[in-house]
């Protein structure tokens, strides 16, 4: 019998936090349950879009941190 998965478990799967023993049954369920697969695809698409938001700090900001570390001794 195929196990029923909750939406919270799907979120854990999308963020690689679902325990290993549940991951294989979930992936099996995704192949047969089109509604679950659709929801999973939507969540993954939203997650992928979030990766587009990656501004970078300036080089001088990072150099300040590295210089501070080199000069800091207890």
């Amino acid at each position: 019998m195929t196990k029923t998965f909750t939406h919270n478990e799907l979120i854990q799967y999308v963020y690689n936090e679902l325990p290993a023993e549940q991951t294989t049954p979930l992936e099996k369920a995704l192949k047969s349950d089109h509604s679950l697969a659709g929801t999973c695809a939507e969540l993954l698409a939203a997650k992928r879009n979030l990766d587009k938001l990656r501004p970078e700090p300036s080089v001088s900001c990072i150099n300040n941190i590295l210089m501070y570390s080199r000069n800091f001794n207890l």
């Binding site: 939406h7 919270n8 799907l10 979120i11 854990q12 999308v14 963020y15 936090e17 939507e42 969540l43 698409a45 939203a46 997650k47 879009n49 979030l50 587009k52 938001l53 990656r54 501004p55 970078e56 700090p57 300036s58 900001c61 990072i62 300040n64 941190i65 590295l66 501070y68 570390s69 080199r70 800091f72 001794n73 207890l74």
Partner: protein, 199 residues
């Protein structure tokens, strides 16, 4: 093994033993993610850069002072420091607001990408602005979980502990945050359909 291939835990150990190169790799590995999570809270580039420096300075003091707890992940730890500093700043600002010369979105978009063409830069800036605006529209508790999980790399269990809710509540908030964002993205794409207006 090349030092850049070492994991965070190994780099922390090398740094504590005096290897500054190990720290440089750690900083470069995590700077963008931590910076983004700060930016989503304070919104001002200069303030975010100051807070990023303060976060790593705190980390330097802890690690060189022999007080680093090796139980957790470095990424979650540095993110938590940054998140707490950003929240402290945000609360202080709320009590004593300062006048912004530029609006927040403009400040967010003022970042430079030397390797990008003007056109690519413009597309990136527009994407940032749209996505940032969508995240800002989320309910505060959903936005908080989203920043902590997606950008600060904290686990749902860590988020639950940090925000005083159950793990199921944290997972539920993340789910609604992603669903809401997806809906907003679909609406946004209908307004600007790339098939109708190819780049």
């Amino acid at each position: 093994m090349n030092i850049s291939q070492r994991n965070d835990s190994e780099l922390v150990s090398l740094y504590i033993a005096g290897d500054e190169k190990a720290f440089e790799i750690l900083v470069n590995r995590h700077k963008n993610r931590v910076f983004t999570s700060i930016m989503l809270i304070v919104k001002d580039t200069d303030v975010a850069q100051d807070l990023l420096q303060d976060s790593f300075i705190k980390a330097i003091h802890t690690m060189k002072g022999g007080r680093y707890n090796e139980e957790g992940k470095f990424s979650s730890w540095i993110s938590r420091i940054a998140h707490n500093l950003a929240i402290d700043y945000f609360r202080k600002e709320k009590r004593n607001p300062t006048i912004q010369l530029e609006d927040n979105i403009k400040a967010f978009n003022s970042l430079t990408y030397a390797e990008d063409s003007a056109e690519t830069l413009q597309i990136k800036e527009e994407t940032f602005a749209r996505l940032k605006a969508m995240i800002d529209l989320l309910p505060e508790n959903q936005k908080e979980v989203l920043i902590m999980r997606h950008y600060a790399d904290m686990s749902f269990q860590e988020i639950a502990e940090a925000t005083g809710v159950s793990i199921n509540t944290a997972l539920g908030r993340m789910r609604y945050a992603l669903i809401n964002l997806r809906k907003k993205m679909s609406t946004s794409n209908k307004v600007y359909d790339q098939n109708l207006y190819p780049q």
